[in-house]
């Protein structure tokens, strides 16, 4: 007996409430955007400059004690968080200390790191020196990194828009890009809502989400294109429905295998890349949803040129007159 995630020959009507789905997606995007505007992102040092120090101690971390020990150094805004991971040994207590960017363009001086080490060791004799890791980014670079990251995401979306436009029709391209924007905004929204640290690696995750979501959308679209030729007389919503149902099994298979791999990484891959993996898990889920409920619904809204041999044969389906 084979494992079947989706039984054969499904016939769900994905578009009975397509306006509702589009509405929900729109609303979620607004919530995500509002959260981003109001709460902002918890930027890592890559994007706002500063220093993070990863400490390891044999004694339990007392954040208050650490804070008091660092107070005399007058470092400005400090945040200290304890890090937990199931794979840590019993006497392995890890904390992340983040210090805001100091004066000037440069990264932090090694002298300062040494001072911090001495101060902390005074308060916590179990502290291991040198620190497990010290990363410092000067404000000059961090500004540029934000810019490069934003350009990278926009470039990726633009390049994809052009590719799909060339391979399909502009309506497909627009639908796919809407889905991408949806995924990116929702991911940023989650990072803003949960205040997970947003650093360079998350940008990589965002771009991967773009790639994955697209992968999914393109597979559905490919089938839509095929079925548009096959069922010339049926209305667009039916063709879309058939296409999505036909590819549903594959959509789920791929999502599940990818999620299996990602969850393994999330649980076992260590705390250093957990935020990164979280973004990708979230992206796979949102990306799968969006290729059906955003990309295809947008396609339905925009209408498609039906007969590919004759340039102007839009008539014959009820959505043909809706044009964007």
């Amino acid at each position: 007996m084979r494992l079947r995630l989706v039984k054969q020959g499904t016939n769900f009507d994905f578009f009975k409430r397509w306006k509702l789905w589009l509405g929900i997606s729109g609303l979620m995007m607004i919530v995500a955007f509002a959260s981003f505007m109001i709460q902002g992102l918890n930027y890592g040092i890559d994007f706002r400059g500063g220093t993070t120090i990863r400490t390891e101690s044999t004694q339990p971390v007392d954040i208050g004690v650490y804070r008091d020990a660092l107070a005399p150094l007058e470092l400005g805004d400090i945040s200290i968080t304890e890090v937990f991971d199931p794979q840590f040994a019993a006497d392995q207590n890890v904390a992340m200390i983040r210090i805001e960017a100091q004066e000037g363009d440069e990264a932090v001086q090694s002298q300062l790191i040494a001072q911090i080490g001495t101060a902390l060791q005074g308060a916590d004799p179990g502290l291991k020196l040198p620190f497990a890791s010290v990363e410092s980014v000067g404000p000059k670079v961090s500004g540029e990194l934000i810019q490069t990251a934003a350009i990278a995401v926009l470039l990726a979306i633009g390049a994809v828009l052009i590719y799909i436009w060339l391979r399909f029709e502009w309506q497909f391209a627009l639908g796919a890009v809407l889905a991408l924007v949806h995924d990116v905004i929702l991911t940023i929204g989650v990072f803003s809502e949960l205040q997970i640290r947003f650093d360079l690696a998350i940008i990589a995750a965002l771009l991967t989400i773009v790639g994955y979501s697209l992968n999914d959308t393109v597979v559905v679209f490919d089938r839509v294109r095929e079925n548009l030729r096959k069922y010339k007389k049926r209305p667009l919503n039916e063709v879309l429905n058939i296409s999505i149902n036909e590819t549903l099994s594959r959509t789920f298979m791929t999502s599940v295998t990818t999620l299996l791999a990602l969850i393994a990484l999330f649980v076992l891959g260590g705390d250093v890349i957990r935020g990164f993996v979280f973004a990708m898990i979230w992206g796979v889920i949102v990306g799968t949803y969006s290729s059906i409920f955003v990309a295809s619904a947008a396609l339905l809204y925009l209408g498609v040129k039906r007969d590919w041999s004759k340039p102007d044969a839009n008539s014959g389906n009820q959505y043909a007159n809706i044009d964007a």
Partner: protein, 553 residues
């Protein structure tokens, strides 16, 4: 019907075999690493029995390319330095003054007396007492200009000369600044590389980034601070005439002179002429040594032009002191006892043995032409790196097993074929990574895990399609063929779009992000290859042998 030409079959198996062959050394990482280190040491001349034994641990005829581990996995230091290119403008202008003075001297009758005026760092201002002689003076100074080789500015020269009343203002031209910046950064890159090589660590990365930046990554070093000590000192050595010796740091030095502190006499300041007689650039050798009193010192030797300048100067100035200045501090200021020909000398000061050794290294590698600002510093401890490797290994294996089991449960025998292809796929990724000498980072491991998840996608597309085609009962052979045919466009479109994002990530990203882009991109290439060639070949071979009447996918 299902047919694959023999030559294609051979080609497919050859590709797989080559990939796996290249990937193999990674399975014996520490052994191969020992072998590689020994080979390198022997090449460099350390042909010891120990190195020979180490070389023997891995046969020479086997591939020995390894996937480099990134800093986040191995531990080490990362620095992003910006070269202060403006430093060089100031040095150039300082050197220009004596040249201008010497050129104008024979024309005193027309231009009158010449005096250096207080000038900004990147210009020289010279006042002449006979304003009527200005056109002649400008002509002479302009005659000192040298042409600059640039793509855009044909006929451009290195300096701009203009008159402001009775003052001649000389600045570097824009073209020359660009050319100088380029040279400065290139030179800094070279010198940093030499200094790091002198210390001798494994596989440092020293790359130029953008116009003015240099990225330095050194695995295995204790901290970014240590790395900075090696490369951060400019070690700018100059020999300047001494004007006076005093204790006031704020005394007016007089135009063309500057005040620098003494290295080992606290409270003592020397007024020296800013334009040096000779600079460290003209050194050919520097070795740690001891002076006649047995104190650590550094012996040095000038090249022929440096030796001549130094010889001439000492001959003309017997009895007056000159200063040996290192990075704006006077190391010592001996009085010239006699003419020093030959061009060698000794620097004494209150050095420790270690300091004198370091100074010799720095002088030998050459001075950095300009100062460095460190914009980014990262230190990753070796233990954290090892933890990440361990975690990554476990996660990859678990992810791998989960996906294999899932595929087998879902597609039975066909799932098994896909699994064989997946294993080959991972092998190919590592083979390619070793071949191009790419660096594996922690996000890179995530990229591989993601590839494991996504690699089956192409197979899933094909298998689902075969299932559909089977429903229309065309017979198994036809269904398989159609399945491959029809799934192809979706596979290609889906993977090309993902590949585009990987390329953009690679182009825009840096460090770990780039590592991720590499594994993702390579993973896409190998997974498309294994899905449309390897699984297909496996299925066709199985089909030819069994000739099943019905198949279940």
């Amino acid at each position: 019907m299902l047919q694959i030409d023999l030559w294609k079959r051979i080609l497919i198996w050859l590709t797989c075999a080559t990939g796996l062959w290249l990937a193999m050394p990674n399975g014996f990482y520490t052994t191969v690493e020992r072998h590689n280190d020994a080979v390198q040491a022997i090449e460099l001349g350390a042909d010891t029995a120990e190195n020979r034994a180490d070389r023997g641990v891995w046969p020479d005829w086997m591939p020995s390319g390894l996937v480099n581990l990134g800093l986040d996995l191995r531990g080490g230091a990362h620095l992003l330095a910006e070269v202060r290119v403006e430093d060089v403008y100031a040095a150039r202008m300082q050197a220009a003054w004596p040249e201008i003075r010497d050129a104008l001297r024979p024309e005193r009758s027309t231009v009158g007396t010449i005096r250096l005026q207080p000038s900004a760092e990147d210009e020289v201002r010279v006042r002449i007492s006979e304003p009527a002689g200005m056109p002649r003076a400008l002509e002479i100074v302009r005659g000192l200009a040298r042409p600059v080789q640039t793509i855009t500015g044909v006929g451009a020269t290195d300096i701009d000369v203009r008159a402001e009343g009775d003052v001649i203002v000389v600045t570097l031209s824009e073209e020359e600044k660009l050319a100088t910046d380029e040279r400065t950064v290139q030179q800094s890159l070279e010198i940093i590389r030499r200094r790091i090589d002198e210390v001798g660590t494994r596989e440092p990365t020293i790359q130029r980034q953008g116009a003015q930046r240099i990225l330095i990554q050194v695995p295995g070093i204790g901290s970014a601070g240590e790395l900075k000590e090696i490369i951060g000192t400019t070690a700018q050595l100059t020999f300047n005439p001494v004007v006076t010796r005093g204790t006031n740091p704020d005394a007016a030095p007089g135009i063309g002179n500057s005040i620098v502190p003494s290295l080992d006499e606290p409270g003592v300041f020397y007024t020296i002429e800013s334009a040096p007689v000779v600079t460290g650039e003209e050194l050919v050798d520097a070795q740690p040594a001891f002076d006649q009193n047995g104190r650590p010192a550094v012996n040095f030797r000038f090249n022929s032009s440096g030796a001549r300048k130094f010889g001439d100067y000492t001959a003309e100035n017997i009895g007056s002191p000159f200063a040996i200045v290192l990075d704006d501090e006077v190391v010592s200021a001996p009085t010239i006892q006699s003419h020093i020909p030959g061009g060698s000398g000794i620097i004494t000061g209150r050095f420790t043995v270690e300091e004198s050794t370091n100074l010799a290294v720095l002088l030998r590698a050459g001075a950095l032409p300009a100062g460095l600002d460190f914009l980014e510093e990262r230190t990753i401890g070796p233990e954290l790196g090892q933890d990440s490797i361990d975690a990554g290994k476990v996660a990859t294996i678990v992810a791998f097993v989960a996906v294999l089991a899932f595929m087998l449960l879902s597609y039975g025998l066909f799932g098994l074929f896909a699994n064989v292809a997946l294993i080959i796929n991972i092998g190919l990724i590592f083979g390619l990574l070793s071949l191009i000498g790419a660096t594996l980072t922690l996000p890179g491991i995530a990229g591989i895990v993601l590839t494991v998840g996504m690699a089956v996608d192409a197979n899933v597309l094909i298998f689902e399609r075969i299932r559909e085609e089977l429903k229309t009962s065309k017979g198994p052979a036809r269904a398989i063929e159609l399945g491959y045919e029809k799934a192809l466009s979706a596979i290609l479109d889906a993977n090309i779009t993902t590949f585009i994002t990987a390329v953009i990530l690679f182009a825009m990203g840096s460090g770990p992000v780039r590592g991720f882009a590499i594994t993702l991109g390579l993973g896409i290439l190998t997974s498309v290859f294994t899905a449309i060639f390897v699984t297909r070949l496996l299925i066709v071979m199985w089909f030819e042998r069994r000739r099943p009447k019905t198949i279940e996918v």
